[in-house]
């Protein structure tokens, strides 16, 4: 009995060696120690969140889209002429589409004058309870411990269930090869994507790892975008949320978006 079990374990061990995800590092580990760590200057948080202060974003009306350009440039996001093929990480849209459930029949004053035709910055909300993650059949999109809803482009099968599940339209499929459509200067530090995978904003996880703020945040000279740890009571985002009334997109869906808007 014992003997049989031991043999089974050995065989199981062998097959793990054959199929396991990390056999190499295991094998190396026997020869010498290998360590996998995150870099010491990486930014860390319990829960990342973003605050968009619309009052500081009024330049958008005059065509400011620094944040979008910064993101596209950083991540080699393609720009298609045909809206059908569009890929968007962070983009500007009207309040009507950003907050379709906000209705104001008799909108006047601030709402009408300022908000109605102001392009709103929208991006992935990095929901706390993300439906896209729930539906993904291969865990290609998943929620990190720090709240970032990540995309694993190596694993995505392009089924687009996440796109159907996302109530914010934050996800784009690469309907075709994106490379010829990258109109910003190519960032050689960051990959492009291949056709057939879904992509979206990742809160610049690669920049956070290096201790940098997300590209859009860094690019906004008016500080309309603020990024930080909402679990940290002393953080700038908490400060903003404390001082200003804020709304989130479609809170009634229970996804708990982590992008807050100060109107």
């Amino acid at each position: 009995m014992d003997d049989a079990r031991r043999r089974f374990l050995k065989i199981a061990g062998l097959s793990v060696l054959g199929l396991g995800i990390k056999p190499v590092t295991d094998a190396v580990a026997t020869a010498g120690e290998v360590e996998i760590t995150s870099s010491p200057n990486a930014l860390k948080a319990k829960r990342w969140a973003m605050v968009v202060d619309i009052k500081k974003c009024l330049k958008a009306k005059k065509g400011c889209k620094e944040c979008v350009i910064a993101c596209n440039t950083t991540h080699n996001v393609p720009e298609f002429d045909n809206p059908k093929d569009e890929v968007k990480w962070i983009w500007l849209t009207s309040v009507k589409h950003a907050f379709p459930d906000q209705e104001s029949q008799y909108a006047e004053g601030y709402y009408k004058d300022t908000l109605q035709d102001l392009p709103f910055v929208v991006l992935c909300n990095h929901c706390d309870n993300p439906p896209c993650v729930r539906v993904c059949p291969v865990q290609a999109t998943f929620r990190r411990a720090d709240g970032i809803v990540m995309m694993d482009y190596h694993r995505c099968i392009g089924c687009r269930f996440c796109m159907a599940a996302c109530p914010f339209g934050a996800r784009s499929l690469n309907w075709r090869d994106p490379r010829p459509f990258i109109k910003t200067p190519l960032n050689r530090e960051y990959p492009t994507r291949s056709r057939g995978v879904v992509e979206k904003c990742t809160f610049c996880d690669e920049r956070l790892a290096k201790g940098l703020q997300p590209a859009c945040v860094a690019a906004c000279k008016d500080k309309a975008l603020v990024f930080g740890d909402v679990e940290d009571p002393n953080s700038e985002v908490r400060e903003l949320l404390r001082k200003n009334p804020s709304i989130r997109r479609k809170p009634q869906l229970g996804t708990h978006p982590q992008v807050y808007y100060i109107l």
């Binding site: 995800i21 990390k22 056999p23 190499v24 590092t25 190396v28 020869a31 010498g32 120690e33 290998v34 360590e35 996998i36 760590t37 995150s38 870099s39 990486a42 080699n76 998943f142 990190r144 720090d146 990540m150 694993d152 482009y153 190596h154 490379r179 010829p180 459509f181 990258i182 109109k183 200067p185 190519l186 050689r188 530090e189 960051y190 990959p191 492009t192 994507r193 291949s194 996880d205 790892a209």
Partner: protein, 137 residues
């Protein structure tokens, strides 16, 4: 011998097929390609024999650590630290993909999908190509 016509044709077909690699090579042993490492660095992330055989597995492991675990730093058996990045670590040393990666991959007919997304460094004489990559069609 009977039915010699058909049988000799058959034997010839067999011989042609069975000796295909002999006559296809015409007696020339194409030497394995010289890989141009592209750097003065003495040692890669791990030992050369290990990298030769296992670089693809290492890269896959790196990929998973980075994307899935958010861990980006690799301390190798030599104790040196590396940012786990194909574009930003590997290709910084091996700056000439065509003379390093491709030569060997072509020699043994391996077509990794890495380059569908990851961007190879611009190589001398390749500026034109790099431009083409970005220009819209």
């Amino acid at each position: 011998m009977y039915n010699s016509g058909k049988i000799i044709i058959g034997i010839i077909i067999f011989l042609v097929l069975a000796t295909f690699p002999f006559w296809f090579n015409r007696g020339v042993a194409q030497a394995p390609p010289k890989l141009e490492v592209g750097t003065q660095e003495k040692q890669c992330v791990e030992s050369t024999p290990f990298m030769k055989a296992n670089h693809m597995k290492l890269l896959v492991d790196w990929r998973d650590y980075v994307v899935r675990d958010g861990k980006r730093e690799y301390t190798s058996t030599t104790g040196k630290k590396f940012d786990m990045s194909l574009q930003n670590t590997c290709m910084k040393c091996h700056t000439q993909k065509t003379k390093f990666c491709d030569r060997c991959h072509d020699y043994v007919e391996v077509a990794p999908t890495c380059w569908d997304c990851h961007i190879a460094p611009v190589e001398p004489g390749q500026a034109q190509q790099a431009k083409a990559l970005r220009s819209s069609n």
